[in-house]
Amino acid sequence: MSDLIIRIGGEGGEGIISAGDMITQAATRSGLNVLTFKTFPAEIRGGYAMYQVRFSKDHIMSEGSGSNIFCAFNQEALDKNKADLKPGTVLIYDYPDGDIAEEVKIDGVTCYPLPMSRIAKKDLEMYRAKNMVALGALSFMFDIALEELKDLLREKFGKKGEQVVATNLKAVDAGIAYMKEHNKKTDPFTMGNVGKMAKDVIIISGNEAAGLGAVLGGCRFFSAYPITPATEIANYMAQWLPKLDGTLVQAEDEIASLANVLGASYAGARAMTSTSGPGLSLMQELIGLASMAELPVVIVDVQRGGPSTGMPTKHEQSDLFMACHGGHGDAPRIVLSPENVADIINLTAEAFNLAEEYQMPVLVLSDGSLGFRTESITRPDPAKFKLVTRARYAGGEGFKRYEITPTGISPMSLPGDDVAGSYIATGLEHNESSNPNFTPENRVKHCDKRFAKLKTLVDKYHAPELQGDGPADVGIISFGSTMGVSREAVALARKEGLKVKALHPRLIWPMQVEHIKAFAATCKKILVPECNAQGQLAELLRGQTGINPVSYRLYDGLPFSPQQLLTKIKEVM
């Protein structure tokens, strides 16, 4: 078997997340590819928590469609997932003597009872080991990295002493023993051994990837305010920037964090902040200032369910309008859209180069699905990350900070350069010397200058990636994590012989209008799946390219599944 999805659900605080992390890590060590998907309650303890791992011997493009195996820690988890327990799937559940009171029988579903609560509480006298009982059972039953799991336990708990290691190993073995004794395997799901882990693999979350990408992109100044689901980016930067002799600031709010970053950038630093929708809303005025004063800044936005406090822990892609058009006035900015975790590393690093080159804010639009997931990916090689730096004032008289040039890009001086390079960075409309100037002629000249940089970028930027060739009945355009789902759905459709293709743009703003039009010209219909209620990408595409796509919107807090999208493709055809 080459592809398997296991989901574990239960009460927050029962060790669901740590169990999921462990099987994910063990599987990676055994040579499997992994991609995880989690939902947390907004509360610290209590509430429903879910961890899903997709294992594969091949590259994984998305969370997948539903799950093959569901492991229920309690009744609530079982109820929440009943709809996904379709014929052919497997259920492992806490029974008897656990939270689930009755034996479960579902037509076509293989149900294995496992009294994980009882085993942990009564036999092992350590209720917290419940998750380890379940892990042992899962690892054994579906032949996923059992030896690696045990090694990992010894490493993880080694510091806490022999006793803790022994108890956890005992819990794993108890889970295995119970399954051996009481449940005859009747399902077909067996992952099997792949052999050895590839040498150059790392396992990393989307949020950590944004941090790593920033570090590889030369970021040495970071300021942020805590916000779900972006806090892990700050955590990563906080851990590594001091080692790199960088500057880490926890700001008093998101306005201050972007203000810190603007000041640092003005002084020459490669600087970044990270946030989610509510924080990005607060930053709008200063994004305009960065655009007006032409300062390189990078903002990573991990989108969540909005508006207002919305659904902080849920996935959504509803900040696209705000990213491209937010704030008052006409303020050019660049928006990048990563498809997966590896992409986040590359695009966040690239964001610094683009910010430096074009002297404007660059936003990386991550989302809940990308931020929280972990993936096993090819290890990035730091030597391959080349840093582009801003055009610099060379010294001497006659310097004009906002000199009109054909590309729109003008050299920038930094404090500490010659006195002749001094200027006042400003949010006021200004002339080439950066003095306030509101004459009609000057206004138009400088507004056009700032937008000229976007044209320079579009002319220069690599073409968006194309999946599939020739004429197609349906062409898909999406952004962010939905690109991965589209990629998988298109692959499935093409396997079925359907004429379907996709365009996967990394540069979402400014739009690569000519490339998109050329793509659309080869498709009978354009389908735009996205996780928001208004069809924001479809709307921008209409305005920018004149094409009229079929908009497919999901806004229930979950990402699309490839099957869902495949069904829609067939419906649209």
Partner: protein, 290 residues
């Protein structure tokens, strides 16, 4: 501090741009004192950065030849902090008014103060919004008349900038008056000298819109802090920030103490982590090995 061969005079700090304030505005006096203080310290033109928010007084950086950043309304302090924390080698001076710093930007002040970011903040306090033509500000007297409070402001209290700064941990707190230029020169010089966050509140009357707290009013009101005032005593400083003799206001240095600055604290933290600009980035990547 000076790196130039020829000494800079006060006028050498002026840019060619003519100041745009109304005739008689207190801000002219502040600009003069700032130039004098810069010259007294021989601040290099190229490594001094003047940061401001929005308002009449926030135009000040344009009139100086140093580097500068005219930010957004209320955001001078966090932008200035970014400059200083990224480049501790720079001298960073912040200018703004009472509305900019205590109303729209009021949320930043406590944090810059308690973090002791090494900035010099010079507030030009005129008890009114001047650029928008006369509205009641956080330092206006309760009941004051403004264009949005034509029947009197319904606010119960006004902000006491000195007490506010003292309470939130500013390590240098002083008050001056644009009508007492010699004292103001001395205060600003001391503020620039201070290592840590220094706050100078300068009463800078608005002749155009504030008909109550006028230059004449302040001329009669300002008295020097008593000679025996102990500027190392926070409680005494707070007492004098609140309790001047009836109808009077104190000017002078209320409080000064030396505490680690944020830059010093960050350096210490980095040092503990064996900070190395040239750290092999492979270490940061391999941390993710399964």
């Amino acid at each position: 501090m000076a790196a130039t061969t020829e000494a800079l005079k006060a006028k050498d700090y002026r840019s060619g741009i003519r100041a745009v304030w109304c005739p008689g505005c207190g801000d002219y006096g502040v600009l003069n004192s700032v130039q004098n203080a810069f010259a007294a310290h021989q601040l290099p033109l190229n490594s001094t950065v003047c940061v401001s928010g929005i308002g009449c007084s926030s135009r000040l950086p344009y009139f100086l030849k140093t580097y500068g950043f005219h930010t957004a309304h209320g955001r001078s302090l966090p932008v200035a902090a970014g400059v200083k924390l990224a480049r501790p080698d720079l001298e960073v001076v912040v200018f703004g008014g009472d509305g900019d710093l205590f109303s729209i930007g009021g949320g930043h002040f406590p944090h810059i103060a308690r973090k002791n970011v090494d900035l010099t903040l010079i507030m030009m306090d005129n008890h009114i919004y001047g650029l928008t033509k006369g509205q009641s500000s956080p330092t206006s007297n309760p009941g004051s008349i403004g264009t949005i409070t034509p029947y009197g402001s319904p606010d119960t209290s006004n902000v006491n900038p000195l007490a506010y700064a003292l309470t939130y941990g500013a390590t240098f707190v002083a008050q001056g008056f644009s009508g007492k230029p010699k004292q103001m020169d001395a205060i600003i010089q001391e503020a620039l000298n201070h290592e840590g966050f220094s706050f100078v509140n300068v009463m800078s009357p608005c002749l155009t819109f504030n008909k109550v707290d006028t230059t004449d009013f302040f001329k009669g009101a300002f008295i020097d802090l008593p000679e025996d005032h102990d500027k190392g005593n926070l409680v005494a400083a707070l007492d004098r920030a609140f309790n001047a003799p009836a109808g009077k206001v104190y000017s002078g240095i209320f409080f000064q103490t030396r505490k680690p600055t944020m830059v010093e604290n960050l350096r210490a933290l980095n040092k503990k982590q064996k900070a190395d600009k040239n750290m092999d980035l492979n270490i940061a990547v391999d941390w993710f090995k399964p």
